[in-house]
């Protein structure tokens, strides 16, 4: 059974190849069957593998399948090996399970688009790369998947490439994450330099012998890896690309920019947790970055007007929670929150997609309103998904994971992280229910008839994710105990009950405040927004604290200035001179090639005379 592991990524890869090479020759139905079916097959296989893993766990809690040697040069030996353990199984479950539901929804969402087969070929390539990332037994293999998902993210953000704005958003996402990827690559070089291997298990077992705790080398390596993680996961200071990435089709936002790819940084830190435990400073920084991002994104989400940007900022802030948990040493709750977040955020994005299509590609929430009667399924999805995002007590999946994170942060003595998380939870419930109240309550303010979607591909993914976002998803137990370190604090006890009650109360208070502010006439909010500090704050928050402005001044403009100044330096002149000389030579030889036989004969004779004269006289 376990030796079928390679098929999990082989199916989507085959789907990508078939769709990529058959482009233009397959219709919508066939493309959807290939694109959705391949991911469905790997989801089924993952389910079978999970059943096998839970009933008959492999020896040592992990199964390694070596497919072939990738490259070998001296001590540098990279195996093309897959590793199945509790962590990669959990990630595989999210990628193929949620991925399949999103693919199915996309088959409905993208219908009628001229790039339908292209869309599914990119999506399949993404799933295959993401599986590379989580299954790779070597950091180099992981890096291959890491770059693969980055490429697919670029291709899919710019999917509707005819609008230059989408291309710009795709480039921005690619370049900003590239900054992190470069740091990541340098970290890998350093790691290989000091440990002599990139095999994850070998590196993790060698690291405690090679590095003293807190030594500068291991701190530098973990900081560089963290650079890669914050780039991919849109955390401070490389967070600016994620809101713009919403230019892609909505299923892309659900799959790549909410459920899977942006959580790759969380996975990387969890996978290399041994290194981070040797570098307490870097681990503190992980928690600090997470806390800062979750607050910053929470404030920004409060004032956004685009339905997808609200969700994008909420994704940033929820990934901030995962980093915060890892900073507190609670790796298992981080991965647990990763899974529940994948459920409810995918649900929210798909429901947002349903709303956007129903309103004729309208994304401004102030041009919606009163949709709860017309789109009952989307309304239910937003209530449950939004409740899970706001961690509504006991009924939703988000409560179980977020409460666990807050409790671990509190009990392990990270009081600062705990208060940041609690305040972030308050912000989360306000902005989530602000979105729901504006979109689904009040009067309809848009143009055109609202038409709800229907069909299996529309309903099934929404209902399945809706069920997973309730306490059902919170009941799932991930087999992480052998892979990730135990939680720093113990479960149970009266104190945990109190923390749970506190976080539940904060969530409900936030919902109540959102209701008071945004249900009905919204006179108070309007007055607040008109006042001078309100105007200033909301503009500052709307621009996400001006990071785009800052980076534009700090990096983009100086770079463009340097390129402009540098356009005609000495080297360019030399190169241009060579080009001009070649052009002159070309013109001369073209003129000599005039098609006249007698001219050719004469030049041959002249050449012969010249050569003979040279031979005689020289």
């Amino acid at each position: 059974m376990y030796d079928l592991l390679y098929l999990v990524f082989a199916f989507p890869l085959a789907g990508f190849l078939v769709l990529a090479f058959a482009r233009g020759r397959v219709g919508e139905r066939l493309a959807a069957a290939i694109g959705v079916g391949s991911v469905g097959l790997s989801a089924l296989l993952t389910a079978a593998l999970a059943g096998q893993f839970l009933s008959h766990p492999p020896a040592g809690g992990a199964y390694t399948q070596t497919l072939w040697h990738w490259m070998s040069a001296g001590a540098f030996d990279v195996r093309f090996a897959l590793r199945l353990d509790g962590l990669s199984l959990s990630m595989m479950g999210v990628i193929t399970g949620v991925g399949f539901l999103i693919h199915l929804f996309a088959a409905w969402y993208m219908r009628g688009d001229e790039g339908y087969p292209r869309f599914f070929s990119y999506m399949n390539l993404f799933v295959a790369s993401m599986l590379f990332l989580v299954l790779g037994d070597s950091l180099l293999f992981l890096y291959l998947g890491w770059e693969g998902v980055g490429l697919c993210s670029y291709l899919l953000i710019g999917f509707w490439y005819k609008d230059p704005a989408n291309g710009a958003a795709a480039r921005k996402a690619f370049v900003v994450t590239r900054v992190g990827d470069t740091l990541f690559a340098i970290g890998l070089f350093l790691l290989f330099h000091s440990l002599g291997t990139l095999d994850i298990q070998q590196a993790l077992s060698l690291a405690p012998q090679q590095f003293a705790p807190g030594s500068p080398t291991v701190t530098l390596i973990t900081l560089l890896l963290l650079g890669g993680a914050v780039g991919k996961s849109a955390q401070l200071p490389l967070q600016t690309w994620l809101p713009d990435a919403m230019a892609g089709p909505t299923p892309v936002s659900a799959l790549i920019h909410a459920a899977t790819m942006v959580t790759a940084g969380v996975y990387l830190v969890a996978r290399t947790h041994t290194l981070y435990e040797l570098a307490p400073f870097a681990l503190h920084l992980v928690g600090g970055v997470g806390a800062a991002t979750l607050l910053l994104a929470g404030f920004s989400a409060l004032v956004q007007t685009d339905i997808k940007r609200v969700l994008a900022y909420s994704t940033m802030s929820q990934i901030g929670y995962m980093f915060l948990a890892e900073g507190a040493g609670a790796f298992q709750p981080a991965i647990f929150h990763l899974m529940t977040h994948a459920f409810f955020k995918a649900l929210l994005f798909l429901a947002a997609g349903a709303v956007i299509l129903a309103c004729h590609h309208e994304q401004d929430i102030f041009k919606m309103g009163g949709l709860r009667k017309k789109l009952p399924l989307a309304y239910a999805c937003f209530l449950v998904g939004g409740g899970a995002l706001a961690a509504f007590p006991y009924l939703t999946a988000g409560f179980y994971s977020k409460d666990e994170i807050l409790w671990q942060a509190y009990a392990s003595g990270h009081i600062g992280l705990f208060w940041a998380g609690l305040f972030g939870a308050f912000l989360t419930s306000i902005y989530t229910f602000r979105l729901i109240f504006i979109v689904f309550h009040g009067e309809y303010r848009g143009h055109g008839e609202v038409h709800a979607g229907h069909g299996l591909a529309y309903g099934l993914p929404l209902v399945a994710l809706l069920i997973l976002s309730t306490f059902v998803g919170g009941m799932i137990h991930q087999p992480l105990s052998g892979v990730l370190p135990a939680n720093p604090a113990e479960e149970g006890g009266a104190l945990q009950q109190q923390v749970a009650a506190l976080s539940g109360a904060v969530a409900i208070a936030g919902i109540a405040l959102a209701g008071a502010l945004f249900l009905g006439e919204r006179r108070f909010v309007a007055r607040l927004a008109q006042s001078a500090p309100g105007r200033w704050l909301s503009r500052w928050w709307f621009a996400a604290f001006g990071f785009d402005w800052l980076y534009d001044r700090l990096f983009v403009r100086p770079f463009l200035y340097v390129t402009r100044v540098n356009a005609a330096d000495v080297f360019d002149l030399a190169v241009a001179g060579i080009a001009a000389g070649l052009r002159a030579l070309y013109r001369g030889s073209v003129r000599s090639e005039n098609g006249r036989l007698r001219w050719y004969a004469a030049s041959m004779a002249a050449g012969a005379v010249l050569v003979i004269a040279a031979v005689i006289y020289l």
Binding site: S592, E593, G595, L597, R598, A601, A602, A605
Partner: protein
């Protein structure tokens, strides 16, 4: 063979040079491809004459062997060249080399 009947080498070489120059002039001046072919024949025979004269001067058979070689070459060249001339006439309806000059840069 007496001394009086022997031509000096220089005379033969001068005749050969004149023939060669005439042939070259024919190639450069003539536009009819048939005359161009004939001029090439003349140039080849000029070269052959130089070989024969040199062979006679050094009392070696090599000059006459080379003459036979050049004769063979001229025959094959004439057959291929005439076939090409025929094709050119069919294709362009003229034997003017300038009118058939299609291969330009």
């Amino acid at each position: 063979m007496t001394e009086a009947t022997t031509l000096p080498l220089e005379h033969a070489l001068i005749l050969s040079g004149i023939l060669f120059a005439l042939g070259l002039l024919g190639i450069l001046a003539r536009r009819n491809i048939l005359f161009v072919l004939m001029s090439i024949e003349i140039m080849m025979n000029a070269a052959a004459l130089a070989f024969v004269a040199a062979g006679s001067r050094w009392h070696a058979a090599d000059g006459q062997i080379l003459f036979i070689l050049i004769l063979t070459l001229a025959a094959s060249e004439a057959s291929v060249g005439l076939a090409l001339v025929l094709q050119i006439y069919r294709r362009f309806g003229t034997l003017d080399t300038d009118a058939a000059g299609e291969l330009k840069g």
